[in-house]
């Protein structure tokens, strides 16, 4: 594996924002997740739970509701009173429409998918017609006294249930009038609470309405008579979310204590046909409030304030007991938030509203393997760059020479020039950005820092030459006609001749930067690309996919390399394919061309192409070889994948020079320390 000095960086104070809503789409098997800062992320559950798209957040856009309608159209609504539709191809917001009812708390698409219902702060329930490329206001339902916090359609589309404060209303969709008003008990363990907030309702096809409320109750109501049928007291705190499966034989609720409960419809006795809702399984995967849950055909999905997205497959629904049946916990974004300037040993950290620039510390001490060396010079916080305006940063990059910083929000692109004078640093903004450079999905500097590559959200790639304090637009690679897919990943070869760009589904395009034309397209693969890099000297393009496959493609020869073919023939180790976080970064060793360095959130791996590949019988996760063992055994057990799991959760790892590595970790405890307070629970023995 070789020995390295490792900079173990733990000063990246990144805190992901809490999850507010999840919405599962059965048709495409995708999951939309919205966070409290307004970010919306799309996870592809069939592609190994990879986060393939995201829409940057906005300060005033606190998303409170998210739903899919008309198949693949995604809508969100929030406290600024607007309904937003997202363009999933171009990765931007199609339109935002004011609903004129104050802040919006809830939204539900009709079972047919052609209508959208929203519940507002002023107590109004509004019906919108979904027409191609737009939504249109249809009518208001009878106005209620207080805010409508939850909505649910009857599967036939004739009635709706609306949860408010202290009561649930049942509306007739045709007439728009409330036919029942079911009052919810405020009492909670014989103590009268101030208010009982109905956090969620679900309407079943037999007319049962299930409500969850802030007093910790799950209640079953008969909507025909407006009476309470059954009451489950499940928590000491709020029950905040509910989701029902499509078959209506099970549902899941999430509580503020971090527990989710699975309810199932089971027979009362083994012989009788009479069925009853029974609380079957509790799961405690969260530490904080579970603000939202979803029920896919095979799994329970939950998310909350503790920023984890948890996907718990249901064992009885999974046919093959393989690794797909394992619990998934997604905490960190599947994209890079850190960029590195190797020459000056700088790290640029990207937060939602600011950038931080740090200079790494250094040491003069030397030590044995495994020693922690004392720092002779501490890491320096050089720069804190705040964005203007309410929009979140989409992407950022620092040039390898360290003298340029570029970042982009949804509507503006910023380029800065940094000047270093001994210990001081000065920042100068490059003004007059051209009109076409308004928003970028990915930014990359060439290795010699003379060119800037920008992937815009219209699918085009801009090449810009950087001069001292100014710039010149060289060329724009237009997307192939007929495709609107935007590019999310970029890689440039160290000699500056080749540029590789990949979108979310189509293949990787390779452009010739010298001749400014498309060189070739790597054949499309079923799974999205998670990382790209071009090796020095050989110009081999290494592509990692979300199913952990790694391909090596020779750009000059326009074909896969011999190593890649043997890997595909033999196949990867089964444990390697079962890894659940995608590879987010690929780099190369400057002196050893046979090495490929890859990492995901929980491991760091050096692939040595000269060694034999491991087969399924060999040990993949090899502990570091003991030195006293004979050379023969070492050589026999050695294989191409050298994996280190010392650093985790690992957000970034790169080679600064041939002897030095930098690893950026983000311990989960540090994140918890900055989250809102959880519910108090009594633990035995404390």
């Amino acid at each position: 594996m070789g020995e390295f000095n490792v900079h173990r960086v733990r000063f990246f104070n990144y805190v992901p924002s809490g999850i507010r809503c999840v919405a599962y789409n059965n048709q495409s098997n995708r999951l939309a997740v919205s966070r409290t800062d307004g970010t919306v992320e799309i996870y592809n559950l069939s592609a190994n739970y990879f986060q393939e798209k995201f829409f940057p957040g906005h300060e005033s856009r606190a998303t409170e509701a998210l739903c899919w309608a008309k198949g693949q159209r995604l809508f969100s609504a929030g406290l600024n009173g607007e309904i937003i539709e997202y363009d999933l191809q171009a990765l931007n917001i199609k339109y935002a429409m004011d609903a004129f009812g104050g802040p919006i708390w809830s939204m539900a698409a009709s079972p047919s998918g052609s209508q959208l219902l929203i519940g507002c702060e002023d107590g109004s329930v509004k019906l919108f017609q979904i027409i191609p490329d737009k939504i249109q206001f249809e009518r208001n339902f009878d106005r209620q006294k207080s805010r409508i916090l939850s909505l649910s359609w009857h599967p036939s589309g004739t009635h709706i249930a609306a949860g408010s404060i202290d009561y649930i209303s049942v509306f007739d969709v045709k007439s728009g009038s409330a036919i029942h008003k079911m009052l919810v008990d405020r009492q909670y363990m014989n103590v009268s609470k101030r208010k009982c907030i109905i956090w969620g309702v679900a309407f079943l096809s037999d007319g049962t309405v299930i409500s969850v409320d802030s007093a910790g109750k799950v209640q079953f109501w008969d909507s025909a008579t407006g009476t309470l049928v059954k009451n489950h007291l499940i928590a000491n705190a709020d029950v905040q979310s509910i989701a029902v499966s499509d078959q209506e034989d099970s549902f899941v609720v999430g509580t503020a204590e971090g527990t989710i409960f699975h309810f199932q419809l089971v027979s009362v006795t083994s012989s009788s046909s009479e069925k009853q809702w029974v609380r079957t399984k509790p799961f405690q995967h969260h530490t904080h409030d579970v603000r939202t849950v979803a029920h896919s055909p095979t799994a329970l999905i939950s998310g909350g304030t503790d920023t984890h997205l948890v996907i718990r497959p249901l064992m009885e629904k999974v046919e093959v007991k393989n690794y797909d049946a394992a619990l998934r916990k997604i905490t960190f974004p599947h994209r890079r938030l850190i960029s590195c300037s190797k020459k000056r040993q700088l790290l640029l950290f990207q937060f939602s509203h600011h950038l931080d620039l740090w200079r790494l510390g250094s040491t003069v001490a030397t030590g044995k393997h495994g020693d922690t060396l004392p720092l002779s010079k501490d890491a320096d916080h050089l720069l804190h760059l705040k964005t203007k305006g309410p929009e979140n940063i989409i992407c950022s990059c620092i040039s390898p020479c360290g003298s340029w910083i570029a970042y982009s929000t949804a509507s503006r692109f910023f380029l800065y020039r940094l000047n270093y004078e001994h210990d001081s640093i000065s920042l100068q903004r490059v003004s007059k950005m051209p009109a076409f450079l308004r928003s970028a999905l990915q930014i990359l500097f060439s290795e010699d820092s003379t060119k800037l590559f920008v992937a815009s959200n219209q699918g085009s790639l801009h090449v810009i030459r950087l001069l001292e304090g100014s710039f010149k637009h060289l060329h724009t690679f237009q997307p192939q006609s007929g495709t609107v897919e935007s590019m999310c990943l970029l890689a440039v070869s160290p000699d500056g001749n080749w540029l590789a760009a990949s979108g979310t589904s189509a293949g990787v395009h390779v452009y010739n930067v010298k001749r400014l034309k498309l060189h070739c397209t790597v054949p499309a693969y079923n799974f999205p690309v998670t990382a790209l890099a071009i090796a020095p000297n050989t110009n081999n393009l290494v592509i990692a996919h979300s199913d952990q496959q790694i391909f090596e493609y020779s750009i000059p020869d326009k074909q896969y390399t011999e190593w890649s073919r043997t890997v595909q023939k033999q196949g990867f180790h089964h444990l390697w394919l079962q890894r659940d976080t995608p590879i987010t970064h690929i780099s190369f060793h400057p002196k050893r061309p046979m090495y490929i360095l890859v990492h995901d959130a929980y491991m760091f791996c050096i692939i040595d192409k000269s060694l034999p590949l491991p087969n399924d019988k060999t040990l993949l996760y090899n502990p570091l070889p003991p030195t006293n063992e004979s050379d023969v055994i070492r050589r026999r057990t050695a294989h191409a994948f050298k994996i280190s799991k010392i650093y985790k959760p690992l957000l970034f790892m790169d080679l600064l020079d041939e002897r030095t590595l930098v690893a950026v970790e983000r311990p989960l405890d540090d994140i918890i320390a900055q989250l809102p307070p959880p519910i108090k629970k009594k633990k035995f023995g404390t």
């Binding site: 406290l79 009173g81 101030r194 959880p678």
Partner: protein, 256 residues
């Protein structure tokens, strides 16, 4: 409306004057009480009571001799005094009404656009009625903008409130009032969610206590997170430091 008000205010005043004159002098005291006692408190009523008591005391004794001339003079003097106070009250009331009237007029003026703009607007709209509405709006907007530059800040805000359509997309006009309303509603909604999740009665613990729960059950006990992480609770630590300093100073003083 503006002209009606003074007339309405005059009517009760003249009526009271009429009452004054028609009332005989024997009912002076009642009148006195009505005029003085009503607006003010017991301070004015007390001397009257004293007078009454004095009368009763005199009743017991023999009546004092009074010449007709002196009595008449006294009565006249009394009458004159009463009339004077009535008049003074009346003028005060009038003045107050006048002031309020002026304030109303001023407020109304403040609400309206300046006269010059109004005049221009009416003339423009009359001349441009046959023209297309879009053009008309543009012209209006231009005029308003010109006025805007001349006018004070408050006028500017008013003009901005007017919805406008423009071909130039580098800016857009919106009603500030709507934006304020929306912001305040959003704030209220956020406060509601914050209060219902983290407000009083929600049984929340602190992050430090939460982290220490695990630590307490570990076989190897570690220091609490707040001591391990230097970036934690900086404000609290500073406060504690300041408190300690003050406490030391206080102790030193008391020892002396």
């Amino acid at each position: 409306m503006v002209q009606l008000r003074p007339r309405a205010s005059r009517a009760p005043a003249s009526a009271s004057a009429m009452v004054d004159e028609s009332q005989p002098t024997s009912e002076e005291e009642a009148e006195h009480g009505l005029l003085l006692g009503q607006p003010s408190s017991g301070a004015a009523a007390e001397p009257l009571q004293e007078d009454d008591e004095g009368d009763e005391e005199f009743d017991d004794e023999a009546p004092e001799e009074l010449t007709f001339a002196s009595a008449q003079a006294e009565a006249r003097e009394e009458e004159r005094r009463v009339r004077e106070t009535a008049r003074r009250d009346k003028t005060l009331l009038k003045e107050k009404r006048k002031r309020r009237e002026e304030l109303f007029i001023e407020q109304k003026k403040r609400k309206l656009l300046p006269d010059s703009i109004l005049e221009k607007l009416t003339t423009v709209s009359q001349t441009n009625i046959k023209k297309s509405p879009g053009k008309l709006k543009e012209v209006n907007l231009q005029k308003k903008n010109e006025e805007c530059e001349k006018g004070s800040d408050s006028k500017k805000a008013k003009v901005q409130k007017v919805q406008s359509v423009s071909q130039n997309k580098s800016y857009w006009a919106l009603r500030l009032k709507d934006q304020d309303l929306r912001d305040s509603r959003q704030q209220a909604a956020k406060a509601f969610i914050q209060n219902s999740l983290y407000g009083p009665g929600t049984n929340r613990t602190t992050v430090n206590k939460f982290l220490s729960l695990d630590n307490k059950r570990l076989p190897v006990k570690k220091a609490a997170a707040q001591f391990l992480n230097n970036g934690w609770g900086t404000q609290k630590k500073q406060n504690a430091k300041r408190f300690k300093k003050r406490w030391m100073v206080r102790k030193m003083k008391t020892k002396k």
